[in-house]
Symmetry: C2
Subunit: 153 residues, 2 copies
């Protein structure tokens, strides 16, 4: 197949987020400056960048930490309001020891604040999609497995 | 965010394939007319189509059967020879009872032949990528888990 053929194929945008905890089992949540709700570290995957590498990069850019990630889920989201369909990956970023927790620095203007919150409290602040996706990911983490989801169902 | 913003985001093409067995634990392999090696049922995921739905559609188009699928792996492949990077999904399509095995019909000119083969024999015929990806998927199936891979590593 010629490269021109590959260029004609349908493509999807994708993003990735990380579930990172402190040693009190609290989840790291971030407040994006330009959104009404809270989120988790992560963002858009770049061209010729893997979902995991993109998530590592975004975490570093947002909170200044190097994390290693474990795959928890890939969630296909159908096109809504003309945005096109997408894939969202969630990775487990582990438990930060206190010295790392204290080393968090918000390094981008895109994030205005961060909090570690008990999961049930964190869920109240997250987007509707993450409210549905995160509990399923935590369940997968407990079972040491990984999930394929569609529209968070 | 405006829809124009979403249109500017990087995107990746993606494909999906199914591991389908007969009741002798043999793997269904297909011979694409336009390739030198054998493959598994599956193909390119369309716009606003989920990886799983795309795989179900391709299996139906290629062998005339309706299958239900279980997620086994998502494998990111870096851009090679200007083709752009991509995601490849593998699903488990279960074990066909003899009446379904006998009902297979090659319904597209893109597939010239099919065989059920013991896995070690099938692997000899598959592409280099599938040679590496399929054994990992079968291991994940055994452990009832799912995998994230990068460049089949």
């Amino acid at each position: 197949m010629s490269n021109d053929y590959y260029k004609t194929l349908p493509k999807k945008r994708m993003g990735a987020g990380a579930l990172i905890f402190n040693n009190k089992n609290e989840l790291l949540t971030l407040k994006p400056s330009y959104k009404d709700y809270w989120s988790i570290p992560g963002g858009v995957i770049e061209e010729n960048e893997s979902p995991k590498a993109g998530c590592v990069r975004e975490v570093k850019e947002e909170i200044g930490l190097d994390v290693s990630l474990q795959f928890l889920c890939v969630d296909w989201t159908s096109s809504k309001e003309g945005k096109g369909d997408s894939l969202q990956f969630i990775f487990y970023g582990g438990v930060l020891p206190p010295e790392q927790e204290n080393a968090i620095k918000l390094e981008t203007e895109e994030i205005s604040d961060y909090k570690f919150l008990a999961v049930d409290q964190a869920l109240l602040l997250l987007s509707e999609k993450l409210k549905r996706r995160v509990p399923k990911c935590l369940e997968a983490l407990k079972k040491n497995t990984a999930l394929y989801l569609e529209d968070e169902n």
